[in-house]
């Protein structure tokens, strides 16, 4: 083993830290495209991480855990949907409620399995890549299904949103539910479906942390990644493909912080840790007014028309 060039380590680190962010961002992008903000994404991630880990530990099968995590994320989002779609409750408050709910449920489900040893999802690296020196010395291309499928899933979300009639419907609901309703689309149905899919992706994001990256469960282990993903949605202008770049950039920021430290950098770690947040604000500023064109027009508003 020798020192890997910084750029290679950064790429490896960015993919490592960015995968769960990408899933979470894709899920939230879908949800927000239908006009709903889910501030409770952190809770969805936690529930996914904990349920996935618990099932993997109890059954000895990480695949079972993966499926359970996705379903648990979806169930959490449907509960949120019941509040904001059916009961028309305030989205931001309901989101924070779901965050607290996620704290509680994940702690309860995960508690018996803290310290359990699981095998994790199997990893696979194509043999022709494994022989390259700069690949061998890093985690590059040695991935499990979640990492391998992250970009294809982003493509699928993009395709579904922008190349299908269904996606047109979702976006129409997000732009103006009243118009969508008038043209024969049921906004509530679109929103529930989107919340279900977003929850599946959020659950996978959580599972990536517990079943793939750390192979452990600990309370609050998402450590704010759900909120970063919400920022990423805006950062990527509600676009699934830009979300790939965004997740890599944010994952890369964490990787950069660790790599600079490991190389004896003189920059304070506190300054490095702040940089992703300040960077996001700077980007939002740079986009300024143009950004609003990309945001679903009815985002965060409650639609009463269909009752």
């Amino acid at each position: 083993m020798t020192t890997t060039p910084l750029i290679i380590s950064l790429l490896a680190g960015a993919i490592l830290s960015g995968t769960s962010l990408l899933y979470a961002t894709l899920g939230e992008t879908l949800v927000q495209r239908s006009g709903i903000v889910n501030l409770g994404l952190e809770g969805v991630l936690l529930v996914g991480a904990s349920v996935g880990f618990a099932l993997a530990a109890a059954s000895g099968n990480a695949w079972l855990g993966l499926g359970a995590a996705a379903l648990a994320g979806a169930a959490t989002n449907l509960l949120f949907g019941w509040l904001v779609v059916t009961r028309k409750a305030n989205q931001l408050a309901s989101g924070l409620v779901m965050m607290f709910f996620g704290f509680g449920v994940s702690a309860l489900v995960g508690a018996p399995y803290i310290g359990a040893v699981i095998a994790g999802l199997p990893k696979w690296r194509p043999s022709w890549l494994a022989d390259l020196d700069w690949v061998k010395a890093t985690t590059l291309f040695n991935y499990d299904i979640l990492t391998w499928l992250a970009v294809p899933v982003a493509l699928a979300v993009w395709w579904a949103l922008f190349r299908t009639r269904w996606g047109l419907g979702v976006r129409a609901v997000g732009e103006n539910p009243a118009v969508a309703y008038a043209s024969g689309r049921d906004p509530a149905r679109f929103q529930y479906v989107v919340l279900l899919l977003g929850g599946l992706l959020g659950g996978l994001a959580g599972a990536q942390l517990s079943l793939s990256l750390t192979l452990t469960w600990a309370e609050y282990m998402t450590a704010g990644r759900g909120f970063i993903a919400i920022a990423l949605v805006i950062f990527s202008k509600w676009h699934p493909l830009r979300a790939i770049a965004g997740a890599l950039l944010f994952g890369g920021a964490e990787a950069l912080e660790l790599q600079l430290e490991a190389r004896g950098s003189l920059i304070s770690p506190f300054v490095l840790q702040m940089s992703p947040y300040l960077f996001t604000i700077a980007v939002l500023l740079a986009w300024g007014g143009a950004r609003r064109l990309a945001a679903p027009a009815s985002l965060g508003r409650t639609f009463y028309g269909s009752t």
């Binding site: 083993m1 803290i114 010395a137 490991a262």
Partner: protein, 353 residues
């Protein structure tokens, strides 16, 4: 209905009060993390649950995942009010709050894990891992092929920096080319970042990784997955997590000391003292992994024995990693100064602030 409920509440309340009034000792422990974590909190939990089983009359009350904010004071007050006569706050950040509760309840013994001042009912204790880390450094220095050792620390407090320094000095003593690269995650328990940190170190060419975080589990597993070697910390049980790459590690054994403390409290003889014990007492060396050759084991055992007999690697002159004299000749860093140590020894790659 209302009256019935109130009656039930009162009866239950009385029943609880009676239960706590029984003879014996209630021990209250407060942890910053989870007790099943293969780490720091588990080391206390294991010791205390064994004491609860073995000492007749001892009952254990535990509070996990208690943040180091203002809330911990009411948690400790709650333990006292539920009958605890011995309170063990196990996280450094609980100190101020513990002192306040102790000042209010002179009849309750407090045994604080960390450093600080003592009073009649407030003792402090801790394991001196920093010197013991010297022996771990010897193990790492002998096992490494790249001469790059990695060290993940959660929060850069004096104890963590001291562990890194002891580790590097031990490695250097047996392998002059050995360097220790330090990465700070910023929290005692940020699992995802710990995994990323371990991978960053491996990317740098480190082949042996040690750590000072709440639970070593995540890092050990991340290192094992990539064929690296690890030196554990906090709990020696973590060796089960690395069947191939485990070298050895340090764990805490609080049982003898806390058993003695519990007996003293029961006998009414508790008096707060500062107790710092090293290798062979509060600090124990974990069994070696299968891949460790006999001659390396011998070298580590020899270093450990020297430390146990009083050898202090933190003896001047020592240079810090910026070339300044950090410790003048004939000076040493004592156990009570370790918490405030704020420099890395020569050969460590890392920055203090």
């Amino acid at each position: 209905m209302k009256h019935l409920l109130r009656a039930i509440v009162l009866i239950l309340a009385a029943a609880c009060a009676a239960a706590f009034a029984a003879d014996g000792l209630v021990i209250g422990a407060v942890y910053v993390g989870s007790v099943n974590d293969y780490g720091y909190n588990r080391s206390f939990h294991d010791a205390l649950t064994q004491i609860e089983k073995q000492l007749p009359g001892v009952k254990l009350l535990e509070a996990e995942n208690v943040p180091e904010s203002g809330e911990v004071e009411s948690v400790m007050e709650g333990l006292v009010r539920q009958g605890a006569k011995l309170v063990i706050p196990t996280s450094f950040g609980y100190y101020d709050a513990a002192r306040k509760v102790a000042a209010r309840h002179r009849d309750v013994a407090f045994e604080f894990a960390g450093d600080g001042d003592t009073t009649g009912n407030f003792g402090v204790f801790f394991g001196q891992t920093q010197r013991a880390m010297y022996a771990m450094g010897v193990a790492a220095g002998r096992m490494t092929r790249t001469n790059k050792l990695g060290f993940v620390i959660g929060v850069p407090i004096g104890y963590s920096l001291g562990n890194v320094n002891g580790f590097q000095m031990g490695a250097h003593s047996i392998n002059p080319k050995a360097q220790t690269i330090v990465v700070v995650t910023g929290g005692w328990s940020d699992k995802a970042k710990e995994a990323a940190a371990a991978n960053a170190l491996l990317d740098q060419g480190c082949d042996v990784v040690s750590m000072h975080v709440d639970s070593p589990a995540t890092i050990i597993r991340a290192v094992e997955a990539r064929g690296g070697m690890s030196i554990g910390f906090q709990s020696i049980e973590a060796r089960a997590l690395a069947p191939k790459g485990w070298i050895t590690g340090l764990g805490f054994d609080w049982k003898p000391f806390l058993t003695e403390t519990a007996k003293r409290v029961m006998a009414g003889r508790f008096h707060g003292e500062a107790v710092y014990q090293g290798l062979g007492q509060m600090v124990v060396v974990a069994p070696f992994g299968a891949a460790v050759p006999a001659e390396v084991q011998a070298a580590v055992n020899k270093a450990a024995a020297a430390v146990a007999e009083g050898f202090n690697p933190f003896s001047g002159p020592l240079k810090d990693n910026r070339g300044n004299l950090a410790l003048p000749p004939n000076a040493t860093v004592g156990a009570d100064q370790m918490g405030r140590l704020n420099w890395y020894v020569e050969g460590v790659i890392g920055k203090v602030h």
